[in-house]
Symmetry: C2
Subunit: 125 residues, 2 copies
């Protein structure tokens, strides 16, 4: 499999890495890069998958733990996991019969920092 791939992070300009996007305008390339990650988060099933994986005991979960809670088919879950993997939000590894997934906290942290709002003064009017 291809769980060794580390897609992004660090290749783009430094500003996109940590600075809140409400401070200075996002560059075009950084926006394209970030949009891919947010797109991976833009589906309810994927959000719940990510949440399930991250909050699972040991910080990782077998796929067999992930198919139960959803109304969609197993191939659909597999597809969503692939999307999360290709977005760089999770990694996976096969151990015997099962495949385990875990989140990459640094990537979530990067997105979190990006959305941080400095308690703006521009508020309601």
């Amino acid at each position: 499999m291809s769980n060794l791939q580390l897609p992004v992070l660090g290749q783009d300009d430094a500003a996109a890495c940590c600075s809140p996007m409400v401070r200075e305008p996002l560059g075009e390339d950084a926006a394209v890069d970030l949009a891919k990650m947010f797109k991976a988060l833009s589906d309810p099933v994927r959000l719940r998958l990510l949440s399930l994986i991250a909050s699972h005991e040991g910080g990782e979960a077998c796929v067999c733990d992930l198919t139960g809670p959803f109304d969609v088919s197993q191939p659909t879950i597999s597809h969503h996991l692939k999307v999360l993997r290709e977005a760089g939000l999770v990694c996976s590894e096969r151990r015997g019969t099962w495949v385990y997934y875990w989140v990459l906290p640094a990537v979530l942290a990067r997105l979190s920092a990006l959305l941080e709002a400095p308690a703006a003064a521009g508020g309601a009017r």
Copy 2:
């Protein structure tokens, strides 16, 4: 803009309701709700729009300030602004001939908190 951080965060219910999604599994309804906001963030043009608006002087921007930096047509910008508005990420108001947009920091803060990773300690495995 002098008083930034002070006791009463203006977010009230919205912020209190959402602990990091890596702590406990996201509910089905919450996931649907949040996915809508992330979907609004899942386009490079919208990300840059949001960033432009937030980082603009005074925390707000006229549409006429927003059409220039992009390669897409004015109706497309208008469409993206509508998406951001319907997702609850920005608000708008007409003043004379112009329409001004500003971000809702509490909503961004909610998303940011949701993605916060707990110390990211273990990290790569």
